[in-house]
Symmetry: C2
Subunit: 322 residues, 2 copies
Amino acid sequence: MSRFVPSLQLLPRVLAGEVPAIARLLSRAEAGLPECREALARAYERAGKAHVIGITGVPGSGKSTLVAVLVARLRGAGHKVGIIAVDPSSPWSGGSIMGDRIRMSDLASDQGVFIRSMATRGAVGGVARATLDAVDVLDAAGFQDVIVETVGVGQDEVEIAHASHTTVVVSAPGLGDDVQAIKAGILEIADVHVVSKCDRPDAGRTLADLEAMLALGSSLAARPEWQPPVVATSSVTGAGVEDLAAALARHKAHLDGSEAGRLRARRIAEFRILKHAEDLLRRRFRERHAGRVDALADRLLARRISPHAAGEELLDGAATGS
Amino acid sequence: MSRFVPSLQLLPRVLAGEVPAIARLLSRAEAGLPECREALARAYERAGKAHVIGITGVPGSGKSTLVAVLVARLRGAGHKVGIIAVDPSSPWSGGSIMGDRIRMSDLASDQGVFIRSMATRGAVGGVARATLDAVDVLDAAGFQDVIVETVGVGQDEVEIAHASHTTVVVSAPGLGDDVQAIKAGILEIADVHVVSKCDRPDAGRTLADLEAMLALGSSLAARPEWQPPVVATSSVTGAGVEDLAAALARHKAHLDGSEAGRLRARRIAEFRILKHAEDLLRRRFRERHAGRVDALADRLLARRISPHAAGEELLDGAATGS
């Protein structure tokens, strides 16, 4: 369609917050094009100002609707907000949520909101690597809040939501037992808990159950400096959205300049380094070492080498480039 | 509790199918203990006979109940069956499913059935690596069928279900829109489709919708040699279980000795090599390179290096062991 503009040439427009330039750079980052690496490195240098908020919850917890309501609230405070949705069930790729009440097109036509839906499968390289590169770009482009929404099932997906400054775990009334069981596994990563759909009559029970689970857990958890609050919200009545915004601001203030914030940043940095190394490993596996991989696979299929030993040979060869 | 028996010493008992020995070796494999690597390599040499069946579906699709019914059917044919559940919502770790109808304890007390629930988070190393090592052990121990059940959400979880000889994707009536949207993303990996809960009045609609989606997709898919069948089952009435067992046997026969089977085995082998290499990378990252990681994280946090360049340094250093 349009002429190919090198990523480094796009960068000034990205840093100025121009949406078309941002969209193009993000597409290249998601595709893992080597051409955009230098631009991503420059964006990373400029990043570090945004509040990165991970929002996760099981399917049906209403997290996309919550995100929409939260974004409207943050926009009201004058913030530019970026949204990266890593969720095959997310409605962000088009259409409306909550019928006529909140139309995605309202947000999508707002120049202060940038929405990006990331593929969870088939992405070149890991989705964690690609998502966090996208966070850098939006951060460097001047978005004060960057929201990363992931489905709260799956190892990668949960880790991505946790690789943020503030992680919000969304629960909701009326979900099945098996979904509730999945939920139990992600509660521990929450800095802020939300129980959504609190206009429903059965929400009180969900709130009470959550409080009980947290009371059990808090005797074990050694986080005296931050007790994750529980916020009850309703996207229908708008209840709790102010409380959620306040809880996010309080958690951000808790991290700013503190030891907790320093440890959090370090954990995210280590996660990113590992994810980039894994991405490179996969890439070299596919691109540079096709012949070696074939030979290793042959030996593995003939049961002349174990999977572990084959993995070791691959890793050692992938790095030296032999 | 009991004396530590080296894994190589356990191996003859594992190969003889002794359940306590199998359980101990699997625990060590899951923990990624270097001590058990040689035993796993020997188990891998002996493996390759079992039919590995991946069963996946969104939460609420009734896949655990389906597995229980299928296992009862396979046991009726005299097969020893291993089950590895990679699903935080799986009931296999205890309790009953379907109330009194099928009690896990019935299967659990059957020496011809081995059930293992794998942690999806917090496992040392990747869950894909650990799960496929466990498949080898059960295969080498003489289980004719090894069923790997995963929740059909999450990149790793879906890939694990697909790293099998026959992948079954379970759909069900009565699930929410967002769950259905997730389902759409996993249909493409199915060798056999199951629509469970077909005793429900709304099951006909689910079946029709699935057939319509598949008809759309099949014009694009280039798999003339195998058209994934759709099997309607009910764990309440037992309907369709024979059809499912027949479809599994037919797909196994389709792979045996064919080019399709050869390509499938090669894809699984390549996946395993990559997952072992990733596992090693993570391990070396944590264990051998703590100092290097600290230094890289410091530089990353100071924005003196990009995440990509830090990942590259880690990968190259991890392999050479420097």
